[in-house]
Symmetry: C2
Subunit: 286 residues, 2 copies
Amino acid sequence: MGAFFLAAEFHTNYSGTAFKVERVLYQEKSDYQDILVFETKDHGKVLMLGGAVMLTERDEFCYHEMLVHPVAQVVENLKKVLVIGGGDGGTVKRLLAYSDEIEKIDVVEIDDKVVEVCKRFFPELASSFNDRRVNIVAQDGMNYIATTSEKYDLIICDTTDPVGPAEVLYSRTFYEAIKKALNEGGIAVSQSESPFYHAETLGDLWHNAIKPVFSNAKLYLAFVPTYCNGLWSFAVMSESIDVEAAPLKRREKLTDCRYYNEEVHRAAFKLPEFVKKIVKDMPVYY
Amino acid sequence: MGAFFLAAEFHTNYSGTAFKVERVLYQEKSDYQDILVFETKDHGKVLMLGGAVMLTERDEFCYHEMLVHPVAQVVENLKKVLVIGGGDGGTVKRLLAYSDEIEKIDVVEIDDKVVEVCKRFFPELASSFNDRRVNIVAQDGMNYIATTSEKYDLIICDTTDPVGPAEVLYSRTFYEAIKKALNEGGIAVSQSESPFYHAETLGDLWHNAIKPVFSNAKLYLAFVPTYCNGLWSFAVMSESIDVEAAPLKRREKLTDCRYYNEEVHRAAFKLPEFVKKIVKDMPVYY
């Protein structure tokens, strides 16, 4: 079979996900992180940032659909949207299913190298940035949200893991600023790591940053094969809307979904016992 | 950091799950398969059969709770139970939560070496075999079910992947024999592989072996981190009981669960779009 490269993300230093690399397409250190793009036989092209899988062509639909549609389906208005992170374009691509309502999408991505690389290697996602509604801001997410006077109907935190540039995006200060930047009836959603491998990160984020700030916060789950062996969590925050129970308002926009549907929306909020423990008032980390 | 062993299961030959091995505890070829037991830092002891992860101490609860409780909670009677495969003891351990009702558990495990190895390395699971209700039969599952005159309230197919000794356990002949061996009001459940990485195996099993035989068959999902990047499927079969909707009859037995609860039971049957496609009449494999 000959020699080959193996790309691996070790979620805990002791176990993880591995890919046989057909071809390395790009490998560079930006001002913020290592960027790696490679080709695989079963997952298509893979993007890794700082040693963590950001997306594979084959399963990005799981993550991006479940990050965008649960909130986009129930939010009151959908005119102004903020995406923090999301430099690959997968989130904006799903937002554009609602393009007749959306007037503006601000994408605050600290690392413009990521945007450039994704436009080159993942055009089916990053070409969404060419839409006239999209405005890319190369700025630190914390800095942007703390200083902006804009208000948004929907804020989506599509961030990397809490190491390096994204660390500050897991703080209470950040979520207080998020709350201030939401319009009435607005909703925010954050990817919130693996409840299995990052229980402490999720517990800290939940109890110290999100719960004290929002009166209506809930956790939901989705399966993303290449994110830490599959189980991924998302936190929704609002002052007025119960995302779990609210009626879907834009069903006719769901024609392209390969993961999301209404039943999955409701089911995603039903948590296994070990995840319920993390979000209870006194966290007992698994 | 020095040299170390890396144990990997490649779900597709091109990607998979990898573990840093602290210590190899057992490595032997039985009459049926390669058996490997090793110690890891974050998953405890790991058992691999034929190159596939059978269990890790840290996450076996996800699989075994979700294989046993959904059916054990709703089945009419729970006096006689058959387990096909299950040589590690994790399934029997969960069944014994219902030991005041259960009169007999027959475990048909073709490879008695697996039972022996698990008694030695996974006593917290395999010590369940010492219960007086448990009767271990070292026989081929197909052969047993085709020739037995016993009838069961519950049949649990806790089998390995459809290669080598388990291949025949994915056939229509096998499921016809399962149906004949069920008491009235009885239920069977089978682990049915990864809908993401084994869509064709699941589709074949569903459309050729299960659906033509049982009038009431449904698929449900659970998250098992070390089974093919996390999403695992299970098929329930019955002539009379809708496992998805039936009331739980034995709630007071659920005190030790770390995954299963009633909400998770209902939610597990809500399938993402790409899984729904597999179980529709004309399968469109993802």
